[in-house]
C-alpha cells in the first residue's frame, strides 16, 4: 500500500507548481489554469486523507470544490474575455493601469 505521505507530497508538489504558474506566467488564462491545478492538488490531498481516514467527507468536499471551480471558471473566463475585448490582450503585465 502506498503511504498517504506520498500522496500528500505529490499534492504539495502539484500545488507548488500551480502556485509557480500564477507567479511566473503572464497569460491570464494560464494563470487561471494554474489556479485550477492548485485546486486539483488540494483535491488529491483531500481524497488521500479521505481514504486514509476512511471517511467520505473528503470526497464530498472534492465534489464541491469541483463545482466551485466550474463556477469560478464561468466567471473568470467571462472576465478574461471581457478584458480582452477592451484591451486586446490577456497579458496580466499589461493590465496595470491601477498602481501606486
Amino acid at each position: 500500500m502506498v503511504p498517504v505521505n506520498y500522496y500528500i507530497a505529490l499534492s504539495a508538489i502539484l500545488f507548488i507548481i500551480g502556485a509557480m504558474g500564477v507567479l511566473v506566467r503572464r497569460n491570464a488564462l494560464i494563470i487561471f489554469m494554474s489556479v485550477e491545478l492548485m485546486l486539483n492538488a488540494a483535491n488529491v490531498a483531500l481524497v488521500a486523507f479521505s481514504s486514509a481516514n476512511n471517511s467520505l467527507d473528503g470526497q464530498i468536499f472534492v465534489f464541491f470544490i469541483m463545482t466551485v471551480a466550474a463556477a469560478e471558471v464561468a466567471v473568470g473566463l467571462a472576465l478574461i474575455v471581457a478584458i480582452f475585448r477592451s484591451k486586446n490582450s490577456i497579458n496580466v503585465d499589461e493590465i496595470n493601469m491601477l498602481k501606486g
Binding site: 502556485a19 507567479l23 506566467r25 503572464r26 503585465d93 493590465i95 496595470n96 491601477l98 498602481k99 501606486g100
Partner: protein, 706 residues
C-alpha cells in the same frame, strides 16, 4: 495732641507708607492729568510729591530721635505667604533707613526743582515738548521705588525697590530714546538704557541667589530674623555664599568692577537723572545693602575683604579712566564710580559710618557737580542755538538736523566759561573742592574717615589704604583738570563764547546743594562730642568707636590733593589747551593715556568676551540649532522626509523593494534592471501573488520551524 507728643508716641511712624505713596500720587496725577497741565504745574506737583516725602522723612527721623532710635516696623500689607515663606510689605524705620530717606528725598526734591528749569529747555532743544511730563512721571516713580528700597523690612522688599529703581534708571537713561548724547537720531541712548538694565539684572541675579540661600538657611527674609539666625548659627560657608552673592548685586547697582560699565553710558540720561540716580541715590543702594547686612558681613572676614578690595580697585581704576575723559559728564561718571568704590571699600572694611557718611556727602557734592555740569551743557546749548539761529528759533527743525554735529558736553569745546557762567563756576568750584577732599569741604571729612579706617585696618585689609590714597590723588587731579579746561584759559569755540548762564530755578537748588557740599562734613565731625552720624547709626548697626581726626592721614591726603591740583594746573592751567591740541598727558603717559582715554578697552573687552560670544551663541542656537537643525533638518528632513521615504518605499511594496535590492546585488543586474526598476511600480497581479506567497511561506516557516 501736639507735635512732640505725636513724635514721642510714635504716631508719625504710621506715616511711613506715605514715603512711597506720596511720590506715587504725584506720578499718577501727572500721568492722568498732566496732559492738560502746564509745565510749571507738572513740575510743581512732582516736586511737591517728592518734597512731601522729604517732610515725612524728616518727621520719621524726628520721631525716631524722640524714641531714642528704637526700631519701628510698620506692617502695611501681606504679600506672599506660602508655607514657611512669609513675605510682607512692612516699613522699617530705623536710623539707617531714615538717613537714606532723608538723602533720597532731600536731594531728590532739589533735583526735581532743578529739573523744572532744565527740562523746560531740554525738551525744546530736542523738539519734543510732550516729553516734559513723562520725565516727572518717571522721576516720581523713581523716588517711590527708592523709598521702597530703603524702607523695606526684608530683603525681598529691598529687592523690589532695587529692581524698581533699575527700571526707572532704564527709562530715564533712555529718556531721549530716539537720540544719542549729541542729539542726533540714533538708538544709542536706548541702548545705554538697556545696557544699564541688563548689567543691573546680572547683579540682581546674584542678589536673588543671596535671597534664596538666605531663605533656605535662615528660614526668613526679614532682616532681624535673618541676622538672629545667622548669629545663632554662623555657618561661614553659607554666610560667605550669601554675602558674596549679594556682592554681585552690589557691583551691579553701585557700579563696581566688573559691572560698572553701564554707569558711564548712563550719562545718556538728562543731567538731573545723572545727578539724582547715577550719582546721589540709586547707585548708593549697594552701599546701603552692605550696611544693612552688616551683621552678616561682620561674620565673615574673607567676604568683607573681597568687598573692600573690589571697592578700592574700583576707586582707583575708575579714577584713572576719569583722567582721560573729555566729556564733562563722563569725567563725573567715572568719578562717581570711583567714589562709590570708596564707599564700598569703607563698608567692606566694616567702616559703616564712614561709608554712609561719604554716601551722604557724596550725594550732596556729586549732585551739585552733575547739576552744574548740566547747567554748563545747557549754557553751551544756548550758546549753540544762539549762534545757529540768531534768535533762538527752536521750531525750525529742518535746519536743526542739517547742522554740523556739536557736542555741548565736550570739555575741549569749552574754556573760560567762568566769564559767561559765573554762578555756575562758583558752584562748580564748591563741588570740586568737596570732591577733591580739600579742607574743610564735606568731602574732606568723609573721605578722610574712610582713609583713616583703611589705615587702621591695614593689617586685615592690606592694600586698601594705598589704593584709595592713590585714587584720592587721581580724583583731585582730574577735577583740577576739569576746572582748568572748562572754566579757565581761552574759549576754544565760538559757542563757548556765547554760552549763557542758567535761570534761578536751576541755580537756586544748586546753591542749596553747594551749601551742603561745603558744610556737609558737619554731619560727622571727627571730634569728641560730635560723631553725630555715628551715634545716630549706632541704633542700627551697634556701637561704633568714633575715630578722632588723624592728622597724619588727613595731612597726607590733603597734601596729595593739593599736589594733584598743582600738577593739573601745570598741565592744563598754566598752558591752557588750544583748539584741536591733544591732551598734554598723552605724550608723557603714552599708551597708558590711550588706555585711560579708551576706558581701558573694557567695553571692547566685554564685547569681545561676552556680547559677541553671546550673540554668536544665540545665533547658533536659534538659526543653526533650533531652526536649521531642529526645526528644519530634524523635523522636516529626518522626521518628515524619512517618513515620506518610508511611505514611498513601502508603496512600491516593501517586499518588492527589499527583493529588488537583494536581487540587484546578487546578480549584478543593476544596469539592465534600471529600465525594469522604473516599470516595477505597482499594478502587477503576479507581484501581488508573489507577496501572498511570500506571506504564506513566512507564516508556515515560522509555525513549522519556531
Amino acid at each position: 495732641m501736639n507735635f512732640s507728643e505725636a513724635a514721642n508716641t510714635g504716631l508719625f511712624f504710621q506715616l511711613a507708607p506715605l514715603l512711597v505713596f506720596l511720590p506715587l500720587t504725584g506720578m499718577l496725577i501727572n500721568m492722568i492729568f498732566g496732559g492738560k497741565m502746564s509745565e510749571k504745574a507738572v513740575g510743581t506737583v512732582a516736586s511737591l510729591a517728592s518734597g512731601s516725602a522729604f517732610v515725612v522723612s524728616v518727621l520719621l527721623a524726628y520721631s525716631l530721635n524722640a524714641v531714642h532710635g528704637e526700631l519701628h516696623t510698620i506692617p502695611f500689607a501681606e504679600w506672599i505667604h506660602i508655607g514657611t515663606l512669609q513675605l510682607d510689605w512692612t516699613f522699617r524705620v530705623d536710623s539707617l533707613s531714615t538717613v537714606m530717606m532723608l538723602v533720597v528725598s532731600g536731594v531728590g526734591t532739589l533735583i526735581h526743582i532743578y529739573a523744572i528749569g532744565y527740562m523746560h529747555e531740554d525738551v525744546r532743544f530736542k523738539d519734543d515738548i510732550k516729553r516734559f511730563r513723562r520725565f516727572f512721571v518717571f522721576l516720581n516713580l523713581f523716588i517711590a521705588m527708592m523709598m521702597i528700597l530703603v524702607s523695606g523690612d526684608s530683603y525681598l522688599m529691598l529687592f523690589v525697590g532695587w529692581e524698581g529703581v533699575g527700571l526707572c534708571s532704564f527709562l530715564l537713561i533712555g529718556f531721549w530714546y530716539d537720540f544719542d548724547t549729541l542729539g542726533q537720531k540714533s538708538t544709542a541712548n536706548a541702548e545705554a538704557g538697556k545696557k544699564a538694565f541688563i548689567a543691573n539684572r546680572v547683579g540682581d541675579f546674584g542678589f536673588l541667589l543671596a535671597i534664596f540661600t538666605t531663605f533656605w538657611h535662615f528660614g526668613s527674609l526679614q532682616f532681624d530674623s535673618v541676622f538672629e539666625a545667622a548669629t545663632a548659627h554662623p555657618d561661614p560657608v553659607v554666610i560667605s555664599a550669601i554675602t558674596l552673592f549679594m556682592l554681585i548685586g552690589v557691583t551691579g547697582k553701585s557700579a563696581q568692577v566688573p559691572l560698572y560699565i553701564w554707569l558711564p553710558d548712563a550719562m545718556a540720561g538728562p543731567t538731573p537723572v545723572s545727578a539724582l540716580i547715577h550719582a546721589a541715590t540709586m547707585v548708593t543702594a549697594g552701599v546701603y545693602l552692605v550696611v544693612r547686612s552688616a551683621p552678616l558681613y561682620s561674620l565673615v572676614h574673607s567676604a568683607s575683604y573681597i568687598v573692600a578690595m573690589i571697592g578700592a580697585v574700583t576707586a582707583l581704576f575708575a579714577a584713572t579712566i576719569a583722567v582721560g575723559q573729555y566729556d564733562i559728564k563722563k569725567v563725573l561718571a567715572y568719578s562717581t564710580i570711583s567714589q562709590l568704590g570708596f564707599m564700598v571699600a569703607a563698608v567692606g572694611m566694616g567702616a559703616y559710618v564712614a561709608g554712609i557718611f561719604h554716601l551722604a556727602t557724596h550725594a550732596f557734592f556729586k549732585a551739585l557737580l552733575f547739576l552744574s555740569a548740566g547747567s554748563i551743557i545747557l549754557g553751551m546749548e544756548r550758546g549753540h542755538h544762539h549762534l545757529a539761529h540768531g534768535h533762538g528759533d527752536h521750531d525750525d527743525a529742518d535746519a536743526h538736523h542739517d547742522e554740523e554735529v556739536f557736542d555741548p558736553g565736550d570739555m575741549r569745546n569749552m574754556g573760560n566759561l567762568r566769564k559767561q557762567m559765573p554762578i555756575t563756576f562758583w558752584l562748580y568750584m564748591a563741588g570740586t573742592l568737596a570732591l577733591a577732599g580739600i579742607f574743610p569741604f564735606a568731602g574732606f571729612w568723609s573721605k578722610d574717615e574712610i582713609l583713616l579706617d583703611a589705615k587702621l585696618h591695614a593689617e586685615h585689609f592690606p592694600g586698601v589704604y594705598w589704593l584709595l590714597s592713590l585714587a584720592a590723588f587721581m580724583t583731585a587731579f582730574y577735577m583740577g583738570r576739569q576746572i582748568w579746561m572748562v572754566f579757565f584759559g581761552k574759549e576754544r569755540t565760538e559757542v563757548a563764547k556765547h554760552a549763557e548762564e542758567s535761570p534761578p530755578v536751576m541755580t537756586v537748588p544748586l546753591m542749596v546743594l553747594a551749601v551742603l557740599a561745603v558744610f556737609g562734613g558737619a554731619l560727622n565731625l571727627p571730634f569728641d562730642g560730635f560723631h553725630n552720624l555715628g551715634h545716630w547709626l549706632e541704633y542700627t548697626i551697634g556701637h561704633v568707636e568714633g575715630l578722632p581726626l588723624d592728622l597724619g592721614v588727613a595731612g597726607i591726603s590733603t597734601v596729595l590733593a593739593l599736589l594733584a591740583i598743582f600738577f593739573s594746573w601745570l598741565l592744563y592751567g598754566k598752558n591752557p589747551l588750544k583748539e584741536g591740541q591733544p591732551d598734554p598727558l598723552k605724550k608723557p603717559l603714552g599708551f597708558l593715556f590711550t588706555g585711560m582715554e579708551n576706558k581701558w578697552f573694557v567695553d571692547e573687552g566685554y564685547k569681545a568676551l561676552v556680547i559677541t560670544p553671546f550673540e554668536k551663541l544665540a545665533k547658533f542656537l536659534s538659526i543653526d540649532l533650533d531652526w536649521n537643525f531642529w526645526h528644519d533638518w530634524f523635523h522636516d528632513s529626518v522626521l518628515y522626509a524619512g517618513f515620506k521615504w518610508l511611505a514611498k518605499f513601502l508603496s512600491e511594496p516593501v517586499d518588492m523593494g527589499i527583493i529588488n535590492a537583494i536581487a540587484d546585488k546578487l546578480a549584478e543586474w543593476t544596469q539592465r534592471s534600471s529600465e525594469s526598476l522604473r516599470r516595477m511600480q505597482n499594478g502587477f497581479v503576479r507581484s501581488y501573488a508573489l507577496s501572498v506567497l511570500l506571506g504564506v511561506v513566512t507564516i508556515l516557516g515560522y509555525l513549522l520551524f519556531k
